[in-house]
Symmetry: C2
């Protein structure tokens, strides 16, 4: 099954939440530190308690790389914990010259067997192309990010009056001949989204920035649904992972994602 | 010793070559495949035969990540093979929101103990800042790259008539309050370099793209030296690593880097 089909199957069930596994050993419940592999144990409990309400898991590579070789093993094992019907996204923001990007693509798709990846567009088409050669995968390319630094370059005005990030979006639509592109669009840019949403066409949109960074899940959902866009994924990381630090955190996580998922479902059903 | 000081010590000896360890198991001499750790064995021989003529080693993470957990181990072991007086650059092109970039910085500087890193600027200041907090390190930020895709966004004209990459360069100079920034500038952009070189000030410049990609070592050296710029590093990867596939490849590599190093030295001495 292609990655896009996996995503669409979930979206058909009104599942739009992506759980970000930004697992930080300094923040996980203390009792887990006594287990042999705290990171894996935590991720396992998070996945068990969220997968019914989840369309994708996004593994943030930085949180694993900082643990060295052991972290790489955790990353690989965590990927295997993700149920096969659920999209596994490598959040790695890769991008380099062609022969190097090809190696990164091999790492993420062949070695680690992810369904999807996040990519940085700065270096242009040939830095993205080796990933696009994997026709059954999904490549979420940064368009407009959720952080303050988005002002520095992404929101720079070009000669033709558009913003740089809008040019990136246009290019991605050109590159999408195999329907294996998606975009990353920061949930904190609610004003920009009102206009930009009309330009997304059918591209899958990954929306980080809800919760800790200030994006609003209900507003986002309303904007997408009222514009007849169903291909969106709202990422939740910190707000979900660390809401409870007792041995019952799995139960708390389950209740939280259930409530968020219900909010989305209600907005969609009211529209129908 | 700070990373900048390490680099300056080498430059004072007219050493300007950076050896890129883009080690590809499909390309290394066949006889090495019989050893227990072909990648490490190859890197060891390359380093032994180049370090006298080298100011830095750049480890291209992609080539190691594609080997999985074992690759991470190779990466860590290769870093340890680099002599302490020689700059070790993590060529990783990282860049993400602040809390994630902080994890990448920990991975590269604390866990792997590199002296320097390459970074992608697309997401702006707060994606770079966690790296800049390491005052003794060097952060080479992408300005203009050596690949064809540089046309797509880096060479886009902004409303003020400048190119995007020139705005990136300006911002890096603002961010460089601790003297721990450098830039990546593709050696293939010889026309642009004629003007841009005047804007580099004293920033260390890492120049990839010589050899396989078409950049010219002698022309580059002349341009820098004739403009009184000494803080430049010319990266050589494929043209050096794979020039000989016999058991005597170390000897061939040594002769090649010696000749390239001599070319640079002669240009500098003619100028003096």
């Amino acid at each position: 099954m292609t990655a896009l089909k996996k995503l669409k199957n979930k979206i058909d069930k009104n599942l739009h939440i992506c759980v970000g596994l930004d697992t930080d050993t300094a923040k996980i419940p203390r009792h887990l530190l006594r287990s042999a592999d705290p990171v894996l144990e935590f991720n396992k409990i998070i996945i068990e308690n969220t997968y019914e309400f989840t369309s994708a898991y996004k593994i943030n590579f930085a949180f694993y790389e900082k643990l060295g070789a052991k972290g790489f093993e955790y990353l690989s094992q965590t990927r295997k914990l993700i149920p096969p019907d659920t999209l596994a996204i490598a959040d790695a923001k890769r991008g380099d010259i062609g022969n190097t990007s090809q190696m990164y693509a091999k790492a993420v798709f062949d070695e680690l067997k992810f369904d999807a990846v996040t990519l940085s567009p700065y270096m242009g088409f040939d830095s993205i192309q080796p990933f696009l050669a994997y026709k059954d995968k999904l490549n979420f390319i940064l368009v407009l990010t959720s952080n303050k630094g988005a002002e520095d370059f992404e929101k720079t005005k070009l000669e033709d009056g558009k913003f740089l990030y809008q040019k990136v979006l246009e290019k991605i639509k050109e590159w999408n001949t195999e329907e294996n592109c998606g975009i990353v669009y920061g949930a904190t840019n609610s004003e920009e989204l009102k206009k930009d949403i009309l330009l997304f066409d059918d591209l899958p949109v990954l929306l980080p920035g809800v919760g800790a960074q200030g994006g609003n899940l209900e507003e986002l959902t309303k904007q997408f649904i009222s514009n007849n866009r169903k291909n969106f994924l709202i990422n939740i990381s910190r707000a979900l992972l660390y809401l409870n630090s007792t041995p019952k955190f799995g139960y708390a996580v389950r209740n939280y994602i259930l409530s968020q998922s219900e909010k989305i479902r209600q907005i969609i059903e009211q529209k129908l």
